[in-house]
């Protein structure tokens, strides 16, 4: 390399040295150590003892782990598409340039600022079986349906009912879609007008324009959002922890992967086992990101890149 290149290399590395230090100490070291501990029996106040694949074997036959995985997958499978649908719809509606748009945008965005603990406490109250707002709004609706169809529907005691607890958590999360709404709105506003105009000249209606112009153009934004949501859904911890007081919920329906990892590390004195869960979690996130990328390559349209 030339002297200039050396100097640039040195300067570049100097500037990113905080990141390099952080990467080594707070990223590489923990990942490697986690893999090592995952193959040990480690109870934190005694030295770790190497036990090979014991933790992984136990994990494979651990019905509670699979339940936690199921709960996490359930949450991701429903909250991500619903989240995309709602936030995208709201963004499209906002894009109509109606009066009071700024106010609406603020209203949708504010809930995403609420700290997780407050969110959990508030929604625990909202979802209360007898006194919560959700059920008291649902009651007249279900009453109407019951009188029309002779059914016996009743609003569930969300967080105490194993069949509905996760839906309570999903609704809690959906309240925070405002973040995505803003992102999508910005993306929508970048769509070149002339595309819409030429489509209209060809006689395209609203749905046709949306399907063939809007969605393809903002597909990279959707993809990015889905990936971030996917990674986030594997880290769901604070809201169910606060709502259940650190527990599992009825019939373990609110036990998520991060919760089970935390319980093993900090309640059951099983840090080695917790690290094994962590390693499996890591591989799942990588695999899912890879799959999502491959799937989207066919559908994403990058303009001008």
């Amino acid at each position: 390399m030339t002297r200039g290149e050396w100097r640039d290399c040195r300067n570049g590395l100097l500037f990113i040295s905080p990141w390099i230090a952080g990467f080594l100490v707070l990223c590489l070291y923990p990942v490697i150590t986690s893999v090592y501990y995952s193959m040990c029996d480690y109870s934190v106040l005694s030295p770790a003892v190497f036990t090979g694949a014991t933790n992984y074997r136990d994990l494979f036959t651990d019905a509670i782990f699979w339940k936690a995985l199921y709960n996490t997958a359930f949450f991701a499978a429903f909250s991500i598409p619903l989240g995309v649908f709602i936030s995208l719809s709201l963004a499209i509606l906002l894009n109509f340039d109606l009066p009071g748009r700024g106010i609406f945008r603020t209203v949708f965005f504010l809930p995403s600022l609420v700290p997780m603990v407050c969110l959990a406490v508030l929604w625990q109250w909202m979802l209360n079986g007898e006194l919560g707002l959700i059920n008291n709004a649902l009651k007249p609706l279900l009453h109407l349906l019951n009188s029309l169809f002779g059914s016996h529907l009743y609003p569930p005691n969300w967080l105490a009912d194993a069949r509905f607890a996760k839906w309570g958590i999903i609704f809690t999360g959906l309240w925070g879609v405002g973040n995505a709404v803003v992102i999508y709105l910005a993306g929508l506003q970048e769509v070149p007008r002339h595309l819409y105009e030429s489509a209209e000249l060809d006689g395209a209606g609203f749905w046709s324009k949306t399907a063939h112009i809007t969605l393809p153009i903002i597909s990279p934004v959707i993809y990015f959002n889905v990936i971030i949501s996917l990674i986030g859904s594997f880290q769901v911890f604070a809201v169910p922890y606060v709502m259940t007081g650190g527990g599992d919920g009825p019939d373990r329906s609110l036990l998520f992967i991060a919760t089970y990892l935390y319980q093993n590390a900090f309640d059951y004195w099983n840090m080695g086992y917790a690290c094994a869960i962590g390693v499996v979690l890591f591989f799942m996130v990588v695999a899912l990101t890879y799959v999502a990328t491959k799937l989207s390559e066919r559908h994403i349209h990058y303009s001008g890149k």
Partner: protein, 435 residues
Amino acid sequence: MAWLALAACQRGGAPTGGKVEIEYWDKWTGFEEEAMRAVVEDFNASQSRIHVNFSSVSQINHKLMLATAGGVPPDVSGVYANMIPAYSENNALTPLDSMAAAAHITREQYIDIYWRMCMHRDHLWALPSTPTSIALIWNKKLFREAGLNPDQPPRSIAELEEFNEKLVKRRPDGSLQSIGFLPESPDWWDPMWGYRFGGALWNGRDAITVNSPENIAAYQWIASYPRRFGAHDLMAFRDGFGNFASPQNPFFNGRVAMEMDGVWVYNYIKNYAPAGFEWGVAPFPSSDPVRLKDVAIVDLDALVIPAVAKHPAEAFAFIRYVNSRKPMEKLCLGQRKFSPLLACSPDFLRNHPNPWIGEFLALAKSPNACYAPPLATYTQFANDMSDAVNRIWTGKSSARAALDEVQLRQQAVFDRSLERWRRLAPVLTREWSAQ
């Protein structure tokens, strides 16, 4: 920024004016917290060497483990006795054998079962703070209304069910208005029902025995409730229960005529039950009242010194103070409980506000008194049992199937902890004996 930094600075355990400051965490709030605070103040005033800082900490089992694992535990902590096996086997506690011996504190001074709960693997890990025992409590007025003798509680499970049938009241639309007995109200002793049927949860050595025939019988009895009264009806009935510490407590507002509860219930009755509430206390019935007489579940709040505490000697001085007769009686009186010490001032029981304190005390001394199995994996075990009972209760699983599942899983978890113990025991026991 400087102000913020100053405001946020930690106060450390540095001596102030020659005094050693020690941290003491405990789980209590309300009147129970006040009772302990009074004793702490007495201790601080009684000598000038040690100052105890008392904090009321919620979710103490989580917080204590985190603090101990992180190397910053309090000097003294209150724990539930069922935490002792896990903490001791994982090297999180300071053994108290030599300090207790030096202070002439021995097993004979205590109600035996409580001393046993403080021992694990042949070492002493804790000393009692406040004991409890669990009994049958019934609402005399509801008994009278149902034509039952208000001073004669059921003596066997079969009799309990007979009374139950007489005490059930339904509304015109068929929904439950009140019931005689509901096993899940409250639901704090889910794992322990088997003891009332002669079952045990482990064999005392290395095997979990959750699915023994007696235990299955016990949980089949629990399962009979949703079968007899309708799972959905019972859920709706339970949803209407208010807070334990409020007038809407189902036992206080007449929804449930009999319940299983502990010695503290007196204080809640005094604060929240309607005026003139008449109640009785008796041993909770078992399946065979002759063979299984006075099967009482007991529980214990105990004081421990975490392993890496900064001031163990001073911490023990405080624990020793709490365990001497007068302070202990003051504490137990304040919490409306009896004392774990055998030697008791005559005034203590006589002047005790709880009219049934003698009954609770007798139950703690019963030869059939039992407590949660001292497993190092008790947290997982209790979680699993609660979950199993929940499934039995909602009809998702039969008693046998649920218990079989718990047996399989908890035996495996317990086996791992036994392996860990076998590996660590040589080193740990050597360390403990040296202290």
